[in-house]
Amino acid sequence: MTPLNLTPALPEIFVLALACVVLLVEAFSKKPEWSYTLTQLTLVGAGAITLLTAEAGKVYAFNGMFVDDLMGDVLKLVSYAAAIVAVAYSRAYLSERAMFRGEYFVLVLFAVLGMMVMISASHFLTLYLGLELLSLSLYTLVALQRDSMVASEAAMKYFVLGALASGFLLYGMSILYGMTGSLELTKVVAAVEQGSSSLLAFGLVFVVAGLAFKLGVAPFHMWVPDIYHGAPSAVTLFIGSAPKLAAFAIVMRLLVDGLHPAVGDWQQMLAIMAVLSLMIGNLAAIMQSNLKRMLAYSTIAHMGFLLLGVLADSYAGYSAAMFYVITYALMSLGAFGMVVYLSRAGFEAENLDDFKGLNARHPWLAAVMAMVMLSLAGLPPFVGFYAKLTVLQALVGAGWLWLAVIAVIFSLIGAFYYLRVVKLMYFDAPHANDLAPSGEADVRALLSLNGLGVLVLGLVPQPLLALCAYAIQTSIQ
């Protein structure tokens, strides 16, 4: 029995403690502003602790249930940043809709905590714990707008389907446990290496299905459009960004850390799901008239692209996927952030038509949105291009040339609907219903930074690429 070492889990402990404090602050002070400030400070503090305790190499804690490595640290840091930005964007939106209450902040913090646990899990139980903590917080967040029928319906759907997916995952894990006799990923991998069996493939199918649901890739994508569309935009903003990082982390932990000996099996499953996601996501997105729904389908396609990086099964592929998910979070924040920013009391700027002629009224906002859209389409010089480039490079390097060709063809189809947003903003006459941004100047500045980030990271992609590559190399054996 090793002595209890709490250092690797310090950020988690910190966030948990502060989340409880936020709960109390709200109960006693009735001032949501305080909760807001405290939440942001908590996330910043967690970032500082993560940075200070970061080191190359893997450190296990709690008898191997918990692991702290550089990949986890980077993903956590990006998650905090995404949460900070999402909360900041949402402030005005929430207060106009009577949702600017303590619960929101507590739920966000618990969701972040869930993600952190998922990211650092090295044991089936920890992983499941984190996943459920995140999922339950998200279910509640979606239902936060109590008097909205759409939101309640979305929350119900999310809950039922999410529970089903968790069931899949648990079932798969239990089969793996029965086969290997351990819940610990390091021991599972050792046991799986001894020899594969049809039982392993059977368990793997369920694990992969559960993961696919959480990532939102086809054919387990049904919930994504409904939830993205139904949830209040501020919540969609949150769901669309940070949880993707955590989902990527558990894919890495389970499939690469835990089940790497079965790579031949899961590679094929991922390949099929990736192609389906690219197809369904991109084709269905063309037909949407609601921006949130369109972005939801585009998320499916992007997650398919992410899987392509993972299934390339090389350091280059993993780090490409990691780069992809980080930059995707950045772009997603920009896109949904714009929806939130342009919505005002009693008006949701969520239809594509609402963006008509934005350039005539607010050229800078249109430029920011255009940069984000072109980046999502994967056009240089924006960062989305390098995300696609590195994934494709890893694919071709691993000999999956045909997958790379399919991926670029669907990227072309994808470009169409992103370009349509640019077209609406630039080519069309302004809408009668003028979009009057409701947010404050600081939110506008943050949004501008977000858009410029997409450009600057595109001009200088090396640091982030190198960071991802380094994190993967030190974290994956």
């Binding site: 350039n359 291009f385 480039l389 470009a415 640019v422 080519f427 090396q462």
Partner: protein
């Protein structure tokens, strides 16, 4: 080498910075200031490009004015620039055209002036980047990024059907370039982890990979050229684009496709090029003959010139795939000449459109009576388009036909038909628009060109005549590089 920022970097970044500067000066309130910045930016962009010509060593086929710096070391991408005799003239042509476009849009564009000027300047910088890039990824970044400003130019300032044209243009060209991206990545692995285009030139490749690479590059560049049958986006884009957009499209972006054939296809996959040369020549001849006939029946002047562009570019690709020094040099001269002539013709149509707001040939007639000075210029450019000797249009076509005779008489025969068709559609249009009785009182009321328009057309007229009467300086610059290229192509790369 010059210390600090090199000349090529300047030709790329001066226009881009000027464009961004315009964007930050705000909206239409400041239109005059924005025009001034645009003019200064374009002028500076042209001036910094001039040392490329004066300092160029024509006896060397090596890349000159090279700049190299690590950009994304992780995947071995470099910021590597350099020009040889093939690419250098196009940087000058592009910088020069940008200057003309800024002048041409001076009064015509009254809405979103800043964004219009900025789009052209940024696009100019990006295109210079395409011609100067020697790194595969860098090339690709410029190659695709240049679509964005042009998409906006067509879509925002274009004609009634502009949205359709803009999206068609974008998706068509994107389809081609995405396949090229896969080819670029494939070459990266084949060459052992290098994105250097020059290293790819020396890379041995089997015939099957060569053919697949050829197909991928073909899509990217043939769409841009555009070659028959992937040309259908061009007439739409030309008709809907504002005058400046048409000029840049015809004079520069089409050249990017042809340039790609010389920089990528011929040297990287020479065996596949030989293998498929017959097909390429056939497609080129179809463009020359069939598209020439299509041009004949157009009733819209812009569409007519657009089809004539396709026919002329057919000449260029024909010249390239003859694997003859005369053919390639003729193709290059034809590219430059076409840059001047088609740009000038679009500007002429723009001049008339600004006055009458119609591009239909039927709405005009007897323009010479109200606009004699304009008619003279228009005549010169129409003659150049028809390939009249002593104009630049003649030189390139003649060289290509001479090259074709050496290979196969019937190629030359088919290609020479363009001299008839070209004369037919251009001069017939000219006759209907400029001569004859004055069609209506609107035409009678048209004012002759002002001094700004005179300046723009006059500069182009000088170029057309200069290149037509004394093409030697231009061909001299290309000579060494073209011979070097042909040497590459002559050697099989099969392992």
């Amino acid at each position: 080498m010059i210390e600090g920022i090199g000349i090529l970097s300047l030709t790329i970044w001066v226009p881009i910075v000027a464009g961004l500067l315009i964007l930050v000066t705000g909206g239409d309130r400041n239109a005059d200031g924005q025009r001034a910045i645009a003019l200064i930016g374009a002028l500076l962009g042209f001036l910094v490009a001039i040392p490329l010509w004066t300092g160029f060593d024509a006896s060397s086929a090596a890349m000159q004015f090279q700049e190299i710096a690590a950009w994304i070391p992780l995947i071995n991408v470099h910021y590597h620039l350099g020009v040889d005799g093939i690419s250098m003239p196009f940087i000058l042509l592009n910088s020069f055209t940008t200057l003309l476009v800024v002048l041409a849009g001076w009064q015509v564009i009254q809405t979103k002036v800043g964004q219009y000027m900025a789009a052209f300047l940024i696009q100019s910088g990006l295109i210079n980047g395409v011609f100067a890039a020697l790194d595969g990824v860098l090339f690709y970044v410029f190659f695709e990024a240049m679509l964005i400003p042009l998409y906006l130019i067509i879509g925002v300032w274009g004609g009634p059907n502009r949205v359709y044209a803009a999206i068609k243009f974008f998706l068509y060209t994107l389809l081609g370039s995405l396949l090229m991206l896969v080819a670029v990545i494939y070459l990266f692995f084949e060459s052992g982890g290098s994105f250097e285009i020059l290293a790819w030139h020396k890379l041995p490749l089997g015939l099957t990979p060569q053919i697949l690479l050829f197909v991928a590059f073909f899509f990217a560049f043939a769409v841009k050229v555009p070659m028959w049958p992937v040309h259908t986006w061009l007439p739409d884009a030309h008709v809907e684009a504002p005058t400046g957009g048409s000029v840049v499209l015809a004079a520069i972006t089409l050249k990017v496709g042809a340039y790609g054939f010389l920089r990528f296809v011929l040297p990287i996959v020479p065996d596949a090029s030989h293998e498929l040369a017959g097909l390429m020549i056939a497609l080129s001849l179809v463009a020359v003959v069939y598209i020439g006939l299509v041009a004949l029946v157009q009733s819209d002047m812009k569409k007519l010139i657009a089809y004539s562009s396709i026919a002329h570019m057919g000449f260029v690709t024909l010249g390239f795939f003859l694997f003859q020094p005369l053919g390639i040099e003729g193709g290059l001269v034809q590219m430059i000449s076409h840059g001047f002539v088609s740009g000038a013709l679009f500007l002429c149509i723009g001049v008339m459109y600004d006055r009458l707001h119609s591009r239909q040939i039927a709405d005009y007639g007897g323009v010479v009576n109200s606009m004699p000075r304009f008619a003279a210029f228009f005549m010169l450019f129409a003659m150049a388009n028809a390939g009249l000797p002593a104009t630049s249009g003649f030189v390139g076509e003649f060289m290509v036909i001479l090259g074709a005779v050496k290979v196969n008489f019937w190629y030359a025969f088919a290609a020479a038909l363009t001299l008839i068709f070209g004369a037919a559609y251009t001069l017939w249009m000219y006759k209907r628009v400029v001569f004859g009785p004055v069609a209506n009182e609107k035409v009678a009321a048209m004012e002759d060109i002002n001094s700004r328009e005179f300046l723009v057309l006059g500069l182009l007229a000088l170029c057309v005549l200069g290149l037509g009467l004394y093409p030697l300086p231009v061909t001299e610059v290309m000579h060494a590089s073209v011979n070097n290229l042909l040497e590459h192509v002559a050697h099989s790369k099969l392992p």
